[in-house]
């Protein structure tokens, strides 16, 4: 990124060079296998998305999308995702990939249809994520490169593992870019695209509530978000939709995730609490407790740099708390906290490298399983080179042996205890993320002008509970 500053090229050419390089990286990452490639009977996320395209294309009326029986990759994302699948189905039909979206084509795989679906991801990435990233970074090309080039997590999840996360991330970025005016609309759209966006929801909701309290009437943003939600949700039966979208029966986590619950899972299993009814409320409660500090402190006018910085920290902390403590978390959800954090490329370069490399490391078991670990390793080194930083020596001393043990085929330890190494990785990453969360608390307090004293805490509490109609006092 240092090169960008001393470069004599014009702004437009720099931007285009970054975009083309980003396209190259995404297209070549797409050559690696997608999740569940050649793995019958259920394949993976690629098959899920392909099958959704087929289902949405052929099933009428639209309300049936969430009610049709069977358990082969039922649609369990909110309606906007289903609409996207429908649009992709139509494109496939237009572009002569009819075979890929036949209703009964289970596990359809071909080279050209694979290129087609990879191409759709790249296209929506270019249409949704890149403009949002440009505006959210305020025209600063370093921040733009930090979001698009030097952040392996969502490149890998979208273009290797196969997902359409970039749309969700794009909405979140729009929310950050235009926080004062359209935050609720954007977060509502993001939630209606993918339910994991509720990781961010408390922060804009709280701020909107505070605004509404001050003005005593709902503003355009509220109205508009309600309209959008009604419009999107209108054709569907809400109870069926909710049952699909929030699958409480699927357990507190999947595989080995670097969350609190996975870390203490041996304890839970021993005491028989893992399947208990009290676990979801406990998750909710812990998440709420962890999130509350980020809801304190007024958002300011979100124009100055420090306000934006604080907003990013609040969003990071809030989503990280959700990741660590909430119910039914996947390992790929870690890319959500990284999104607002990556916008602070200038302010916290070391923290970003630390968080990114830990997140990538937590994804290592998944990508080893899928056979694209090489892309992951190449991209994380690329990120370190590009950002001009490397993770601390202590971190590497712990992570590298674990990673090598995990990756090398035929080492006796892995054969003897196949589940222990991923578990160790999860614990290691959990501890790192926990420290990141604590750092977020600290940084949030610092930026809000509070210190860790009793008086400071009281100040913070009063200020955040002070729902007065007067404009908020300007914070330093």
């Amino acid at each position: 990124m240092k090169v960008l500053q001393s470069c004599r090229f014009g702004q437009l050419r720099k931007l285009l060079l970054i975009i083309v390089l980003a396209i190259y990286i995404r297209a070549s990452i797409g050559l690696f296998p997608y999740s569940g490639e050649h793995r019958p009977p259920r394949f993976g996320d690629y098959e899920a998305h392909r099958y959704w395209s087929a289902v949405t294309l052929h099933m009428r009326p639209v309300a049936n999308w969430y009610t049709h029986p069977g358990d082969y990759w039922v649609i369990d994302y909110p309606p906007l995702s289903a609409y996207l699948a429908f649009a992709i189905g139509i494109c496939a039909r237009l572009l002569d990939f009819e075979g890929a979206v036949q209703a009964d084509a289970y596990g359809y795989e071909s080279e050209s249809s694979r290129a087609f679906f990879r191409g759709t991801v790249l296209l929506v990435d270019l249409l949704f994520f890149f403009p949002a990233a440009y505006f959210a970074s305020g025209g600063d090309l370093n921040r733009f490169a930090s979001l698009t080039l030097f952040q392996p997590c969502w490149i890998l999840i979208d273009h290797a593992h196969f997902h359409y996360t970039c749309i969700q991330l794009g909405f979140i970025l729009w929310m950050i870019a235009r926080y004062r005016t359209i935050k609720l609309t954007m977060i509502a759209t993001a939630v209606l695209f993918k339910q994991t966006s509720i990781y961010f929801l408390p922060v804009p909701a709280m701020d909107a509530l505070r605004q509404a309290w001050r003005r005593a009437f709902p503003d355009n943003d509220v109205l508009f978000s309600v309209l959008v939600a009604l419009f999107i949700l209108y054709p569907f039966k809400l109870d069926a939709l909710l049952r699909r979208v929030f699958p409480f029966h699927r357990g507190v986590f999947e595989d080995k995730v670097a969350t609190f619950w996975c870390t203490i899972s041996p304890l839970l299993r021993r005491t028989g609490l893992l399947r208990s009814r009290f676990l979801p409320p406990a998750c909710g409660l812990m998440t709420l407790v962890a999130v509350i500090p980020f809801l304190m402190g007024s958002p300011g006018r979100c124009i100055t740099e420090s306000d934006r910085l604080r907003l990013c920290i609040r969003l990071t902390g809030c989503s990280l708390a959700f990741y660590l403590f909430s119910y039914h978390v996947h390992e790929k959800h870690i890319l959500l906290p990284l999104l607002p954090l990556s916008l602070c490329a200038h302010e916290y370069p070391d923290i970003i490298i630390w968080a990114t490399s830990t997140a990538v490391f937590s994804l290592l078991p998944l990508f080893l399983h899928e056979g694209s670990a090489m892309a992951l390793v190449a991209l994380i080194i690329w990120t370190c080179l590009g950002r001009g930083r490397r993770p601390s020596v202590a971190w590497m001393l712990l992570a590298l042996p674990l990673g090598i043990l995990l990756a090398v085929d035929g080492n006796p330890f892995r054969e003897r205890y196949p589940y222990l190494l991923p578990y160790f990785v999860a614990i290691f990453c959990f501890l790192n993320f926990l420290m990141l969360l604590l750092w977020c608390y600290k940084e949030h307090a610092k930026l809000s002008g509070c210190s860790f004293t009793v008086e400071g805490a009281r100040n913070l509490l009063f200020r955040s509970l002070n729902f007065s109609r007067a404009p908020p006092q300007k914070l330093s």
Binding site: F9, V20, Y24, L31, F116, L385
Partner: protein
């Protein structure tokens, strides 16, 4: 060159290393790209060099695909095979599909050997403008990036699979050292001799790695070494001798030289064209031949239909035109010895060689005159002339003049050579960029043509976007620095490139050509398109080289390029310059 002789280094070693790492990482993302049969061929060579003794490497006992690279490359394959065995990586394949570990190993060997491309660029990157290097992009860095990020090389090496980066790196090193030795004035005699030794040794290694690529610059290297009286340099002679021994495999048991020769130059087996037409002069000839023959046949069949003409063979003229009855050169599938054109006379290797020699005459004459001129200059100037008076800018121009000559010679061989592969265009493109400057419109047009010529090699649906992104990045980076350049040449280059791209992408993605009976039309259009650019670039380079020399030869203007060439020996006090002696012969 080391820092003692040139304290002002253009691109430092650290930057070189960082650039290598960055490109290596980006190339590592291509490991899972669909590979061609060349990967299997190289895999087979690795295993055969491990399994058979040196004496049996070039015998038919090894089984196809036979080893047809020179011996030094075979040694390299042997070494890599040993490395693979050490790492317990299997060196076999089942019906063309290799194991993942084998694939990754093979890809990583290519990426690792690309180090030599970066090292080979070092003599070219040590330039005078260190102060300007701080502002990015500097002229020196541009030259480096021109070579190491060129899409054609990435497509051929890292997707299609070959080891061109290594070979081209060694060749560029040899040329760079040779030219710097000839150009830079501060050289002392001993240093110059060592440089000459290094250059000739590197050239011999390149010749041993891939003879076809190295031979395309052999005339220039040969002429320069001849002018510098290389045979009097003991190091050069010894290295040549050792190289000969190595090529014949003598230390490890003799390779049959006759078998080796037949493998290296299989003129009887190979036709004028490779399977994909390389964009050279013959592509144009074949296309014109095809079009005219088709047109004649069409007219003739209409005449027969209307009863205006009679033919014992029915209404089809084409078989009659093609007297030999073999598959035509322009039919597209001409891997084996193909017979002639429809209308043009049969081409022979002898004729092709003659064309090559005629085509590269301007460059060789220019080089010869430049040497003579500099020798005369050395004689007229007193021996104590101040070396620092020689302008560094002139030295750079001199390097560029030599690179232009080299590019012209290799382009001539590409245009008229026998059975040329499209990959052979990469080296001339690099040299043209180094000679004309990477932001020169002609270099850009040539590079676009070269990249597009590689597109048929990597055409599976997954890598289409990859190759486009690589091409666009290179285009964008080497677009002119001013937003709207004063000459309109750039506009032409880019619209030309865009049209070529559309031909390549749109025509090739439509599968109806088979049904129309014209399955090779997209390939033909693409190669004709590229060939036009190549011929234009060749003509431009010839004209440039010729003009600069003529201007000097007739005494119209002092020619800086020739004046400072080989001035080095003249600055040694006392000793008679090397070149003056050689020029006294002429």
């Amino acid at each position: 060159m080391d820092k003692t002789s040139h304290p002002q280094e253009g691109v430092g070693f650290g930057l070189l290393l960082r650039l290598y790492c960055v490109t290596a990482l980006l190339k590592a993302l291509l490991v899972r790209a669909p590979y061609s049969t060349d990967l299997l061929v190289h895999l087979h060579w690795k295993s055969l060099t491990r399994r058979f003794p040196v004496s049996a490497w070039y015998t038919p006992a090894t089984g196809p695909p036979y080893l047809d690279y020179p011996t030094c490359f075979a040694y390299l394959e042997w070494f890599l095979g040993a490395l693979a065995q050490l790492l317990r990586i299997p060196l076999d394949h089942e019906n063309g599909s290799v194991r993942l570990s084998t694939l990754i190993f093979m890809r990583i060997t290519v990426i690792a050997l690309d180090v030599f491309l970066f090292l080979g660029m070092r003599p070219w990157c040590a330039g005078p403008e260190t102060a300007a290097a701080a502002s990015f992009p500097s002229v020196v860095l541009d030259r480096l990036l021109w070579v190491v990020t060129h899409p054609a090389l990435w497509l051929v090496d890292n997707i299609h699979f070959q080891y061109n980066g290594l070979v081209i790196g060694v060749i560029l090193y040899s040329l760079g050292v040779l030219f710097r030795e000839s150009v830079y004035a501060e050289m002392e005699k001993r240093r110059s001799q060592r440089g000459m030794w290094r250059a000739s040794a590197a050239f011999l290694v390149a010749l041993g790695l891939k003879h076809t690529t190295a031979l395309s610059i052999a005339p220039v290297v040969g002429l320069v070494l001849w002018k510098q009286r290389a045979w009097k340099n003991i190091y050069v002679v010894v290295s040549g001798f050792v190289w000969l021994l190595l090529m014949l495999g003598l230390p490890f048991g003799c390779v049959g030289w006759r078998a080796l020769w037949e493998r290296l130059f299989p003129l009887d087996e190979r036709g004028l064209f490779h399977a994909y037409w390389a964009p050279n002069a013959y592509a144009l000839l074949a296309a014109a031949d095809k079009v005219v023959a088709r047109f004649c046949a069409l007219v003739f069949s209409r005449l027969v239909e209307r009863g205006l003409a009679k033919s014992p063979h029915g209404s089809d003229l084409l078989p009659m035109l093609h007297r030999s009855g073999r598959v035509s050169n322009s039919a597209g599938l001409v891997q084996t010895a193909g017979g002639g054109f429809y209308l043009l006379p049969e081409w022979t290797p002898m004729l092709a060689t003659l064309c090559c020699v005629v085509a590269m005459t301007p460059s060789l004459l220019a080089l010869h005159w430049a040497f003579q001129e500099s020798a005369r200059h050395g004689e007229t100037q007193p021996a104590s002339s101040d070396a620092t008076a020689v302008d560094r800018l002139d030295q750079r121009r001199c390097m560029e003049f030599l690179a232009k000559i080299c590019a012209q010679v290799s382009l001539s061989l590409f245009l008229f050579g026998w059975h040329v592969h499209e990959k052979a265009l990469i080296l001339p493109v690099f040299l043209a960029g180094l000679g004309l400057g990477p932001r020169h419109p002609v270099a850009a047009a040539l590079s676009t043509a070269c990249s597009l010529a590689m597109f048929p090699l990597v055409s599976s649906p997954g890598v289409r976007l990859v190759r486009l992104a690589l091409l666009f990045w290179h285009w964008l980076y080497f677009a002119p620095l001013q937003p709207w350049p004063p000459t309109r040449a750039w506009l032409l280059v880019y619209s030309y490139g865009g049209i070529g791209l559309m031909i390549g992408e749109l025509l090739a993605s439509w599968h109806g050509w088979q049904r129309l009976g014209l399955p090779f039309l997209p390939l033909m259009l693409q190669s004709v398109y590229s060939a036009l650019a190549v011929v234009f670039a060749w003509g431009y380079l010839s004209w440039q080289v010729w003009r600069s020399t003529r201007a000097d030869y007739m005494g119209c203007s002092p020619n800086a390029e020739a004046k400072h060439l080989l001035i080095a020996p003249s600055v040694q006090a006392g000793a008679r310059p090397l070149l003056v002696r050689s020029s006294s012969k002429h």
